[in-house]
């Protein structure tokens, strides 16, 4: 390629990063990264947890400033000084962690950022939203309070918000992590339509199949450095499998064919064993914008993994919270080892061996400003050996935390780092480590691998299988059908707050679950 044509190509970049470096205490999050973002292209950004993807996005969206290097917008060096500035430049971002105001309605959130002296243009918004949601195939409750929505629904609102603003460059940081397979396909189709209209898109994901299916160009980050790129020409020439194995090699340096296709080991669940968890006719009152639960009944035997499939926002959160004791049930019974626990408090249920891994890791799973070490023990405050006579034993805490950090491969500069400073996947590892520690009898996993990179996803799934193999009962809530199929013994489908059917996870489970999810009989 001659220098002339390459410079004319460079001029086409909407945004380009040149040698951008960003340091945080104890860590170089981005190490002289070059990236060119072009109209008409979906640029996929890949990398393991903590590789520096969100940091890069933070600089493009004005949240962070690079320590070195520069950002070119339309070929001109432009410091992006604030999120408002980024929006003005036409850069719209859907962040990895929700940035909506929980006490406002969806419509109010979408209207935020308008000129304060102007009256919000509600009708105009409604029309635009209707247009976007119909192409995207989603429904958004404009007048619901954000705090009443499930995380998946909030994610859709975030995507919508970025679309409403008519950006030239759309950045999606792990925006498919809470969508169903169908929702993901629709988002992919929409991205394709948008780039055909001349937009540029940066798409971050941990699912390599999505990367291969939706991308035009792939860049891979590793330990803050850009270690590889697959340009569009090569991308088109390679097949899906070839792309995936090339990415895996770039990311993890080892070769393996379709790493996600692990055979589900045949476990022996003792059918005659007494159920560990028995739920009968559990009911929760609906709120205005969230479904309640109606007569939910199921049993889980020791060693069994029961999956809950369904579109996010159909009562999964309510089910998990009602079981954990965080949400008042209006009827029904919950028995753990034969003992009724439905009247017990959250703490008491935990002491009896019930664990709940929440999907809202920053909202309720952690205290963001507290150090990583303390966040491991949030649910054990006061317990020996970490506290003796109520006094904190810093040495014990640090010792155990160091173990957990190593065991679960949590990438953190130090134990004292506030947990909110970790990358999304690493926060998730902290939660996993906390819930899988000793003393559990029954664990509720709500989207346990959300935000984890491939290697960590596989490791965590294996951990959950091992948990069940130790004789625990596991309830696995997920929107990822592959995940459920690869792990569960049985899969129940939830829709509108009721279980519409349960299927054994044998050969034709995929079609049966699929039929149940779209409202047909299995």
């Amino acid at each position: 390629m001659s220098s002339l044509s390459s410079s004319s190509v460079a001029a086409r970049d909407i945004v380009a990063l040149e040698g951008v470096t960003k340091r945080f205490p104890g860590i170089v999050a981005n190490d002289s990264v070059d990236l060119s973002i072009r109209p008409g292209e979906v640029q996929v950004l890949l990398g393991e947890n903590g590789a520096g993807k969100s940091t890069l996005i933070g600089m493009l969206s004005g949240l962070l400033q690079p320590d070195e290097g520069r950002i070119l917008v339309d070929g001109k060096p432009t410091p992006i000084t604030s999120p408002r500035h980024a929006l003005a430049l036409g850069i719209g971002t859907v962040f990895q962690h929700m940035m909506l105001v929980p006490t406002l309605t969806v419509a109010e959130n979408l209207l935020l950022g308008g000129r304060w002296w102007q009256r919000p243009r509600t009708e105009e918004l409604a029309a635009r939203v209707a247009e976007i949601t119909s192409t995207l195939g989603i429904t958004v409750k404009l007048h619901a309070k954000v705090s009443e929505l499930s995380l998946g629904e909030q994610q859709q609102v975030e995507i919508l918000r970025a679309m409403v603003r008519k950006s030239r460059l759309l950045i999606l940081d792990e925006s498919t992590s809470m969508l169903t397979p169908k929702g993901i396909d629709e988002l992919g189709a929409l991205m394709r339509r948008l780039v055909e209209q001349g937009l540029a898109i940066v798409f971050i994901t941990h699912k390599l199949k999505e990367a291969a299916a939706f991308g035009d160009r792939i860049s891979v980050l590793k330990l803050g450095r850009k270690v590889g790129e697959i340009p569009p020409e090569r991308f088109r020439a390679l097949g899906e499998q070839a792309i995936i194995s090339e990415i895996v090699e770039l990311m993890f340096g080892k070769q393996s064919d379709d790493p996600e296709a692990v055979e589900r080991p045949v476990r022996t669940v003792h059918a005659e064993a007494a159920p560990l968890l028995q739920v009968a006719d559990l009911a929760v009152a609906p709120t205005d914008n969230a479904p309640g639960l109606s007569s939910i009944s199921f049993d889980i035997r020791p060693g069994e993994i029961l999956g809950i499939a369904g579109i996010d926002g159909n009562g999964q959160k309510q089910l998990a919270e009602a079981l954990a004791g965080q949400r008042a049930a209006t009827g029904g019974s919950v028995r753990l080892e034969g003992v009724a626990i439905e009247a017990l408090s959250v703490g008491e249920r935990r002491r009896r061996g019930l664990r709940y891994l929440t999907d809202d890791r920053l909202g309720e799973g952690t205290v963001g400003t507290f150090p990583v070490s303390i966040n491991f023990f949030l649910k054990q405050v006061g317990a020996a050996p970490f506290w003796r006579n109520g006094v904190e034993q810093r040495a014990e805490i640090d010792k155990r935390a160091t173990q957990l950090v190593r065991e679960y491969d949590v990438r953190t500069p130090s134990l004292k780092t506030p947990v909110a400073r970790l990358s999304g996947g690493n926060i998730q590892k902290v939660l996993l480590a906390r819930e899988l520690a000793e003393g559990a009898k029954m664990v509720i996993f709500n989207k346990p691998t959300y935000g984890l990179d491939l290697a960590n996803t596989l490791a965590s799934r294996q951990r959950i299988r091992d948990t069940a193999a130790r004789g625990l009962a596991v309830l696995l809530i997920s929107t990822d059908l592959e995940e459920l199929l690869s792990m569960c013994d049985r899969i129940a489908v939830i829709a509108n707050g009721a279980l519409v059917g349960t299927v054994e996870n044998v050969d034709d489970a995929r079609t049966k679950v699929g039929r149940l999810m779209i409202g047909l009989a299995a």
Binding site: G26, I27, G363, P371, W387, T412, S414, K416
Partner: protein, 365 residues
């Protein structure tokens, strides 16, 4: 991205004990605290000039009376005693994310109960037992007074800022009524409670006029600091304060903890009142309300809810209030000018914080 084990600094300066700060950061902190205070002194000086008072003379009097004269410094240290208890109570509440702004009502009710009970108790019990009982009663009464806001917040989610403020108005009035109607000393013409004889008050330190309540206050605030930073109970309160949803998720009994926070905070405010009466004043006059509770809030904020820093700021506040009273008398400035000064400090501090933040952003841009 390399992992190293060097301690990193948490940007949340709330937790000054966690995370060893490097020297540069301490320096920065000092600059960011003392700078605004100096700027505020200059601004307040301009205001004084505008009303025709020589600011240098004013500050001179403040320093001389509040800090450098032997009598003044003793008064200053004595004044610190109740303020330290109040600050301790506020630290507990603020760290747990609860805005107990009812300190004055709780303080006065504690003061009145102590003033009413102590003279009776000293006649029927040994000295120390009598004082202890008075303290206890004051604590219990103040705690009861906090029960309404506490329960409303814990079980109904009613905003405690409003309820504690309302209860403080009621509490101040109730204290007044009690002095005038119930505990009034029949032996005097002015409405006030019976006076505790000087020899029955808290002993003074050595040969000075400094009350030993100062030591109690110091102990209280240090204990509170250690409990909040080093114990399971303190951590639970901080979790409730930092992320109430995480507290529920972690299975903490949030309503119980909320009630406990209000009880402790109000109890310490009640103690503040009792210490001021039993240590210094000896009685409560009708309509007496020094409004210490509100004055202490800025000091606690400036200290970022750190107990040790709070001791320093309470000392400054005492110097200002003792010195300010005398300077006000001599120069004809209203007594409340110290409050004006403190609020200017707060505003300048907030501005400095904002500018610092913007500067950090733009420097990297």
């Amino acid at each position: 991205m390399s992992i190293d084990t060097a301690p990193t600094v948490s940007a949340t300066a709330l937790d000054a004990t966690s995370g060893a700060a490097t020297r540069r950061d301490i320096l920065h902190r000092l600059l960011m605290t003392l700078g605004p205070i100096l700027a505020a002194l200059v601004i307040a000086g301009c205001i004084l000039l505008a009303v025709g008072v020589d600011p240098l003379a004013y500050y001179g009097y403040v320093l001389e009376k509040g800090l450098f004269s032997p009598l003044g410094i003793q008064q200053t240290l004595t004044r610190m005693a109740p303020l330290l208890f109040l600050a301790a109570g506020l630290i507990v509440a603020f760290r747990a994310g609860m805005w107990n702004l009812g300190g004055d009502g709780q303080f006065l009710l504690g003061a009145v109960t102590a003033a009413a009970s102590a003279p009776v108790f000293v006649q029927i019990m040994p000295f120390w037992l009598a004082l202890t009982c008075s303290f206890l009663i004051a604590v219990v009464v103040a705690m009861i007074w906090s029960l309404v806001p506490a329960l409303l917040r814990a079980y109904q989610g009613v905003n405690e800022i409003i309820t504690t403020l309302m209860m403080t108005f009621l509490g101040t009035s109730l204290a007044n009524v009690l002095v005038k109607l119930v505990f009034r000393d029949p032996g005097t013409t002015v409405p006030q409670t019976r006076t505790l004889p000087v020899e029955d008050r808290l002993p003074r330190l050595f040969d000075t006029t400094i009350t030993s309540g100062l030591l109690l206050g110091l102990a209280a605030i240090i204990i509170v600091h250690l409990v909040m930073t080093r114990t399971a109970f303190g951590l639970k309160l901080r979790i409730v304060g930092a992320n109430p949803r995480a507290a529920v998720h972690a299975g903490l009994g949030v309503p119980g903890l909320t009630t406990a926070v209000f009880a402790i905070s109000a109890g310490l405010a009640g103690l503040a009142g009792a210490v001021d009466i039993i240590g210094v004043q000896g009685n409560v006059r009708a309509d007496w309300n020094p409004a210490y509770g509100l004055a202490v809030i800025p000091a606690v904020f400036l200290a970022r809810m750190n107990g040790f820093a709070a001791i320093g700021f309470v000392f400054l506040l005492s110097v200002l209030s003792i010195g300010g009273e005398s300077a006000a008398r001599r120069l004809g400035v209203p007594n409340h000018f110290t409050l004006v000064l403190v609020s200017i400090v707060l505003i300048v501090l907030a501005l400095a914080e904002y500018v610092d933040h913007r500067y950090n952003q733009s420097r990297k841009a």
